[in-house]
């Protein structure tokens, strides 16, 4: 299934692009991360400490064990620093 993957802040810088569309069979966020990190070193580096990252599924905060289901847009980013 085709899904849009978005990256923000230092994660975007490490991956080297703000968004991409990929065709994936991953069933959960964790599986998707495993698939991405296996692709290239820059992904492995970006996701080397998944515990320090956050994920949003279709613009709602979620977690790495969540099923992807019909999610179109998956965003990865570091903890937020607004305010």
């Amino acid at each position: 299934m085709k899904r849009d993957i978005l990256y923000f802040a230092w994660l975007r810088e490490r991956v080297g692009l703000p968004r991409e569309t990929i065709d994936t069979n991953a069933a959960t966020v964790a599986e998707l991360v495993a698939e991405l990190t296996a692709r290239e070193d820059r992904y492995a580096l970006a996701f080397s400490d998944p515990g320090s990252l956050r994920v949003a599924l279709d613009q709602e905060l979620s977690d790495f064990s969540a099923p992807l289901g019909s999610t179109r847009e998956i965003a990865f980013f570091p903890p937020m620093t607004g305010g």
Partner: protein, 150 residues
């Protein structure tokens, strides 16, 4: 639903003017609390600028949800949140919240809650640029811990 005014914008805003307008529009309610976050310089005065990245779409959605939670929990009659993104210099206003309530305690609590939540639940990321280079601001454990108060 109470009036929620949520603005995510690159352009500067006039804090004084926004406070005046908010107080005027909600004047008969009784109590207004406002807070403004300002770009802080480093201890050595080396900050050239701050850049704030955000997640268009999710940002507006998250801020609206946070404001709706506040409105469901406290007796507030109006709420404004303005948050900027993009580059800004030391001393410039980054964001503001305003709450209006018949009761002072509710206006304060709701504003405090909004600040705690938008710090770690709204998708903004700050980067500080000095003559030494650029650094992403790290989230503090205390910011996350602050949510437990609520």
């Amino acid at each position: 639903m109470i009036p929620l005014d949520i603005r995510v914008q690159a352009k500067p805003f006039d804090y004084g003017q926004e406070c005046g307008r908010f107080a005027q529009q909600t004047g008969r309610v009784g109590a207004v609390v406002t807070f403004c976050g300002i770009v802080r310089d480093t201890d050595t005065g080396a900050l050239e600028r701050m850049e704030i990245e955000h997640y268009p779409g999710m940002t507006e959605r998250a801020l609206t949800q946070i404001a709706e939670h506040a409105a469901a929990r406290w007796d507030i009659k109006a709420c404004t949140i303005i948050h900027r993104h993009g580059p800004m210099g030391p001393g410039e206003a980054i964001m503001m919240v305003a709450t209006a309530s018949p009761h002072r305690a509710d206006a304060f609590a709701a504003a405090d809650f909004l600040m705690d939540y938008l710090k770690s639940r709204a998708p903004f990321w700050k980067k500080e640029i000095t003559n030494q280079g650029a650094t992403w601001v790290e989230a503090k454990d205390s910011d996350e811990a602050a949510l437990d108060r609520w």
